[in-house]
Symmetry: C2
Subunit: 470 residues, 2 copies
Amino acid sequence: MKRYEALAADIEASIRAGVLRPGDRLPSVRHTCESRGISASTVFQAYYLLEARGLVRARERSGYYVSEGARKRPPEPDLASQPQDASIAVDVSDLVFEVLEASMTRDVVAFGSAFPSPLLFPLARLGQAVAASAQALDPWSTVDDLTPGNPALRRQIARRYLADGLQVHTDEIIITNGALEALNLCLAAVTRPGDSVVVESPTFYAALQTLERMGLQAIEVPTHPREGIDLAALEHAIARHRPKACWLMTTFQNPLGSLMPEAKKQALVDLLTRHGVPLIEDDVYAELYFGDKRPLPAKAFDREGLILHCSSFSKCLAPGYRLGWAAPGRFARAVARQKLTTTLGASAPVQLALATYLERGGFDKHLRRLRHTLAAQQARFTEAVGEHFPPGTRATRPAGGYFLWVELPQGVDALRLHQQALQQGISVAPGPIFSASRGFANCLRLNYGHEWSARSEQALATLGRLARAG
Amino acid sequence: MKRYEALAADIEASIRAGVLRPGDRLPSVRHTCESRGISASTVFQAYYLLEARGLVRARERSGYYVSEGARKRPPEPDLASQPQDASIAVDVSDLVFEVLEASMTRDVVAFGSAFPSPLLFPLARLGQAVAASAQALDPWSTVDDLTPGNPALRRQIARRYLADGLQVHTDEIIITNGALEALNLCLAAVTRPGDSVVVESPTFYAALQTLERMGLQAIEVPTHPREGIDLAALEHAIARHRPKACWLMTTFQNPLGSLMPEAKKQALVDLLTRHGVPLIEDDVYAELYFGDKRPLPAKAFDREGLILHCSSFSKCLAPGYRLGWAAPGRFARAVARQKLTTTLGASAPVQLALATYLERGGFDKHLRRLRHTLAAQQARFTEAVGEHFPPGTRATRPAGGYFLWVELPQGVDALRLHQQALQQGISVAPGPIFSASRGFANCLRLNYGHEWSARSEQALATLGRLARAG
């Protein structure tokens, strides 16, 4: 445990024990530095973490105070899911579309959305980069920057891998139209119709739609809301169902927000290597961590080119630009060929624009602000869920991303709640769209990536009221 | 026949008959106006057409002269292809990639390329539109302009349909990452693995690669180098093999350059409607016509929403921007859903940029210049083929686009010629990559969409020498 984590744990314990009560002021930074013999930045890190967890709030020019809602947060779900042990055909896409299409209007309170607020992103600075690069575009790049993609952008991505301690060569990186395309191409490169693929339970509905579209079967494996997929269950599923691939989110899983610890990621890679099963690693939320560093992907432990790592700029920098990438290990050539016969390449001026933005700097500064905003919004959101939702409600406390997974009391019907909420102008993502077996009947995924406001509070109160009635 | 066509035909007859000989000056425009009682613009249209056909050349400030090469042009191929009457599994993708990857360097003479020179496009003006729109981007468009796409761009596309006499509603149009994605999504919307699909013989290799990737079988149907697919053979193939779709290029087919006359397109639509077979119409070259107006697509005759029309800006305006669209008739919703589970949307700033460019005007002016350039390059190119290639060579004379289909004498091995030519720094597209049965062993597709120069002439002389030796 790091120093700032130890300090945060001590303060949290004091709050839980009632030594510090809602409204109490935390010791000043200077005082804590002196009493603990640690630096001011360490104290600030601890206070930020507590803020992210919703336990304290900063008041301008005054210091940090224990939150009013600190003790009202709902408990976390703490049991792994229990999907059936089977390889099943997927038939959930129509339901997903029904739910999503119903929610697609601008004026709804977008708790069901998959996207954070676009206002969180440096669109003006990106626009400057687009403007500069569009007018400097080498005409031949319109041909040369087709798949695998613009070399400067691929080099920037490789440098970010390197900064995180991963050796991913520029040549391995294939630029795609967002991470969803990268995931699709990777899956197509390692499977054929009729094959089985392991997914988490619950899992991102687009993964299920992709399996359905490609005629693949799903093996849903028990997944813990904090630590991700159960490795013993995974090994059993591999032995029994012989999947051709796994599609997992090891960091800030959608919808759970679970984060596999590094040692578990290492064990996952060892397990998959032993069985020769490729892992398609959907890693689009990793930059949105609330801790002190980017969680390593499973890819960091890969020695045999078995991990097809997919990510994008859509959640952390440039929503709507539709630029992502795959680093598909030994499958790079097969993935590039998939892209060459489907969408050929990503847009040349946009590729150059993002390369230009990344070269100019400012990305990390933007990310720090974004993470802090999301962490603070999670805190507000979680407290409001605790305040308004019925007794027995549980909610995850992800260490990154912008989704909360809420388990309502047994008997609440999330699909009905979704419809009732829509009539009140509120969208939610009901649990059944996250599973091939349409489980999680009493669960919701809520998006806290939009600005917290009185309207959000009111909408959560409405949801709570509907859930109590349901 | 239009007045300018009649005039052009008369002059061509005079040249063929030897009344006008190479080097002779054509009657002046003023003289012809008076003698025929027609307008100057009609005379210019006729002279442009003759220039496009390689029969005359303009000399600055001096007038039009009968080309030196006018009588040396190779004859056109005039027989429809004779593929076997079968539905066959496709296994040609690796060969296509081998050929294409070998050709992918900037310094090769790119006769094998699928792309025209990027220098032919208004990239500077497009860059201005990109710059303006990137900085004016509504943040919420990053979500709202996902599939089906930016409303202003879709309206501009619908207006162009309308100008050509087609009623295609904005709501039917789905923006894609280039036409290739549109074609892929449309095919996925109307087929399942194992189904059969009709293609022309020869056909665009990417269509074959798509069939192979999706586990579809190909029915290759006899196709005439001037007038496109044989309708009697098509009806027979439909009755015998029960295809789930046709994938055809009715205008300036790749690789033949064939153009189905309008009456034949009408008959094609009638035939497909009778049998309930959807047509995926790949129409990416139609704007590159050398005649007086854009040839109508088969879509113009569709009354039942059975034609899935696909096109893009990649060949006529903005190469490398990767923006295309589908107008999939009654399959629009299914196609949109395919896109939502694969690439989600096209890049928002690029969509807005093209909408902005189209609103500002200048597209039609650019197109007129582009068409004239390509027509003139076809003429030079065809004459050089006639000059340098061995006796017995035939070459198509497409009325648009930038591809020539060349039939070399029997016994010439185009795949070997491709390899020998590469060693001399010249790429070609050998016939066998255009057919599931690897036919067309003695054929080449040559790209005349790059600036004509002494180097091009030299490269064609080298190809001719290799073909004579082979």
